[in-house]
């Protein structure tokens, strides 16, 4: 199961989905508001993960 780190909430969760698009949908995250990194490299929303992948979801909005 891929691991997802949510920077805004500062928490790590496990998901069943392998498609990044499905993960975002499940977490109710609008893709225009985040960038996604795997091993410190950005990936696009149509990327497909492997079982052991860890990804980070970083909000693009800046407050202030």
């Amino acid at each position: 199961m891929p691991a997802v780190y949510l920077e805004r909430e500062d928490k790590m969760i496990k998901v069943n989905e392998l498609n990044v698009k499905d993960i975002l949908k499940k977490l109710n995250i609008n893709p225009t508001t985040v960038i996604i990194a795997r091993n410190n490299e950005l990936i696009t929303e149509d990327a497909v993960l492997s079982e052991n992948d860890k990804i980070k979801i970083l909000p693009v909005i800046s407050g202030g």
Binding site: N30, P31, L42, L58, P59, S62, G64
Partner: protein, 305 residues
């Protein structure tokens, strides 16, 4: 699917399109777009003194990084940075550290000014004094005032800000919702309804790039700050408008670009309409004002009471 141009791994799917780009193709795309904006709207001319407003967040860091890259290479202009410290504990103190380190590393002169310097109080204190006033409205007045005053004192030809397409679309919509069209006449890639020595024109080189594109550029160049939100940001209705536009964008891709493109079509008419509007000089500080006393001095008087 690999990068459309070179078959490497893509880092982004461009907004409102099917094109995906890899790291190096995206950097080229991004920088070309900024240079085109600078040229098309005449944002920076040869030998000008450009001051880049710096907060330490990803937008302003990316802007300073890019301007520094082209200041010596593609265009020939003088560059320094200006930071306004509002005095917001747990927020600005962190980004100031990032800003300082960046300028030191890249050998860029950094000017710092603060709300305490002019009001004797930090924004945190001012907010305590006026708990019922939205922090952002006081903050905005003071920041605009200080940025203009300081950059004029530093003899800047232009003040560059990291405003992106999302910011502009939000401002346009907010002015619509509040029937503040005279304020919209001051938006655009370069501000100012007409030339006025008291105003340092503001330029927005990221005008046609979305927040997501700027974040992508920042990340690739190691400029993405840790997620950090101003304590008071939930008070502002800008953030309501931002979320609304982002949901619209998700449902109808291209919404934000269309708002800005439509606005640019009517902007010349707005400027024409408001060009004869008289701008007073504040009788206290001589900064530009819409009435006898400028908004900043009004606020300053209340703060000092």
């Amino acid at each position: 699917m690999p990068c459309k141009r070179c078959k490497s791994n893509p880092v982004i799917q461009l907004p409102n399109s099917n094109i995906k780009l890899c790291k190096s193709c995206f950097i080229k795309y991004f920088e070309r777009k900024v240079l085109n904006t600078i040229r098309k709207y005449n944002l920076i001319n040869h030998k000008e003194n450009i001051i880049s407003a710096l907060s330490g967040g990803k937008d302003s860091l990316s802007l300073l990084y890019l301007l520094n890259k082209i200041a010596s290479k593609k265009l020939d202009f003088k560059l320094s940075a200006l930071l306004v410290d509002e005095g917001i504990k747990g927020y600005r103190d962190k980004t100031i550290k990032t800003a300082r380190e960046f300028c030191e590393k890249n050998n860029i002169k950094l000017h710092i000014t603060s709300y305490s310097e002019v009001t004797g109080k930090t924004l945190d204190k001012i907010k305590k004094q006026f708990p019922d006033t939205i922090a952002c409205s006081m903050c905005g007045v003071l920041r605009r005032y200080l940025l203009n005053k300081k950059s004029r004192e530093l003899k800047a030809n232009k003040l560059a800000t990291g405003h992106n397409l999302d910011d502009e679309a939000q401002s346009i919509m907010m002015n619509q919702f509040r029937h503040n069209i005279a304020l919209s006449a001051r938006l655009g890639p370069i501000t100012g309804v007409k030339r006025d020595k008291r105003f340092v024109p503001r330029i927005k080189p990221f005008y046609f790039l979305t927040e997501k594109e700027v974040a992508t550029y920042a990340f690739i160049n190691g400029l993405m700050d840790e997620f950090n939100e101003c304590t008071y940001c939930t008070e502002s209705n800008r953030f309501v408008v931002r979320d609304m536009l982002n949901s619209l964008e998700q449902k109808y891709p291209g919404t934000k670009h269309s708002i800005v493109a439509s606005f640019l079509e009517v902007l010349p008419l707005l400027k024409e309409k408001y060009k004869n509007q008289k701008i007073n000089s504040c009788k206290i500080c001589s900064e530009p004002a819409s009435s006898e006393v400028c908004n900043a001095c009004n606020l300053l008087q209340r703060i000092r009471q």
